[in-house]
Each structure stands twice: as C-alpha cells, then as structure tokens.
Symmetry: C2
Subunit: 149 residues, 2 copies
C-alpha cells in the first residue's frame, strides 16, 4: 500500500485526484503500478485501477488475474469494482472509503455480489489515515487555488 500511496502522488502533478494502485503477483511480485490519469490523458476510464489491470494483463499475457492482489488508496467506484470482478482478481485491498462513489461498501458491494460469476476477497482500511490525508490535502489546495483565481 505504501507503493500505491507513492504512485498516487504522481497523479497530483497533473491535477488529477491522487489515487494510486499496484498489482502484486505471488511469484512475479509487482506486475503493475498506476495512478489516476483522467485529466492528464482526458480519458474517463483512466482511473488507477483500470490502468493497473491493463498493465498487469499485458505483463502476464492474460486477462484472468485470479492469482493477483490489487492494492488501491481509495475505495473503487462502480467502473473499477466491475473491472476487478471482470478480471477475476483474487484479493482487493483498499485504504480510504469513498462515501460518494465507492462501490465496495459505501454505495454497493460489487466485489462480493453473489449474483456475479466471481467474488473478490476484500480488506479495508489498510493505511487509511495517510490515504485520507493525501486526498484531503489535494482538495484543500484545489479549493484554495479556486478562491485565489
């Protein structure tokens, strides 16, 4: 998760909400590291998780990531939670909750939906405090900048 927090910092440089993500394979170790790039590349699907899943799949040469664990600094949204299920990710670990758009606990629980053809193991709240502070600091600076403009 420390690696995911490091990745998140890079998102801020482009004015993107700082969310970072890594994918770990039991043998190959780190197979993907990504951060939110929606603003940087003007792509609505360029959340950290989607980019990391694409990177891990390219690295391993297969779309099924059923032996991988994904660490992300913020609770995944509907798009990202759906992508994690579609990729058959074994385990998802996230830091801060997202009361406005989180789909793994806050608004819904896509990762554990028994009607879908895959369920991910989930761990919440790992390094929650630094992840929350990183996000708060970003939004505080953004508001301050807006007021000054």
């Amino acid at each position: 998760m420390l690696l995911a927090l490091d990745a998140a910092e890079k998102a801020e440089l482009n004015g993107d909400v700082p969310v970072g993500c890594v994918v770990i394979h039991p043998e190959h170790g780190l197979v993907a590291s990504a951060f939110n790039r929606r603003e940087a590349v003007q792509d609505p699907t360029a959340h950290a998780e989607v980019l990391a899943l694409r990177e891990a799949s390219a690295r391993l040469g297969r779309w099924r990531l059923s032996d991988c664990t994904l660490y992300v600094t913020l609770e995944p949204c509907f798009m990202c939670a759906g992508a994690l299920v579609n990729a058959r990710v074994k385990r998802v670990v996230y830091a801060a909750s997202d009361s406005k758009a989180g789909a793994c606990e806050s608004l819904a629980n896509v990762l554990s939906d028994a009607r879908l053809n895959h369920r991910c193991e989930v761990s919440r709240g790992i390094l929650e405090e630094p992840a929350r502070l990183q996000l708060q600091s970003f939004f505080r600076a953004k508001r301050k900048k807006r007021i000054q403009e």
Copy 2:
C-alpha cells in the same frame, strides 16, 4: 444500433462474445465504433463500451461526453455502466438485456442511481431481437465446437 450490430460481428472473428457499440455526437456524428476485444487483446477491460468511450474521448479531446449518445447491443455490466456515468454520457441505448451481469436494469441500475453525480437517460430493447439472436448463435456455435473437440 445497426452500426453497433455490425461492429459486434467483428468480435466473433476473434472468438470474443459479439457485443458492439457506437458513440454519436450531435454535430460530429459517429465519433467511436468498437467491439468486445477481451480475448483478442487479453485485456479484462476491453469491453465494447470502454473501448468506445476511450475512442470518443480521444477524438473529442475531452473526458466529459455529456453531449453524446452511446448505442450498445447488450446491457452494460457494472464496469461499463460505471464508465458511462464517469464519462457523463447523456443517453445510453441498449438492445438485449443481460440477466447474468447487466447493471442497468437486471442486477442493478447504475445509470439512474440518484446517489451518483451523474445520471444517464436510458432506452432499452431497441433492435433487441437481432442482438439476442446474434448472441445466441455465437454461444450455440461455441457449445457445438466444444462437444466436437
């Protein structure tokens, strides 16, 4: 929707489930046309809708697609429905329902979720019959091939 059905046919050539999608802009017309390429490129996020949203954003140079209508031959899953909301798509039109993974009516209704920061207009069942037959024919041929092997 006829263009989306045509696009879906191309997916079959790679052994991918035939789902096709187009994005229409009120002035520029067709700004994206895509089909499911999960197997072809071994990418779990390469559903027709995600690829079409990425193509439309690249074409228009912005991630907000609030003036666009997306046509797709099958009810979007959680990942794709979440992506449509994230991209602020104005209107979504789909043909066949997906009782196993559809997140726009069947298992959930992500596109109209009042808790999210955007809601898409939705039309269902347009050219449902040909879309359903296209999917059924693909799965029937797949089962037949499996039995013969």
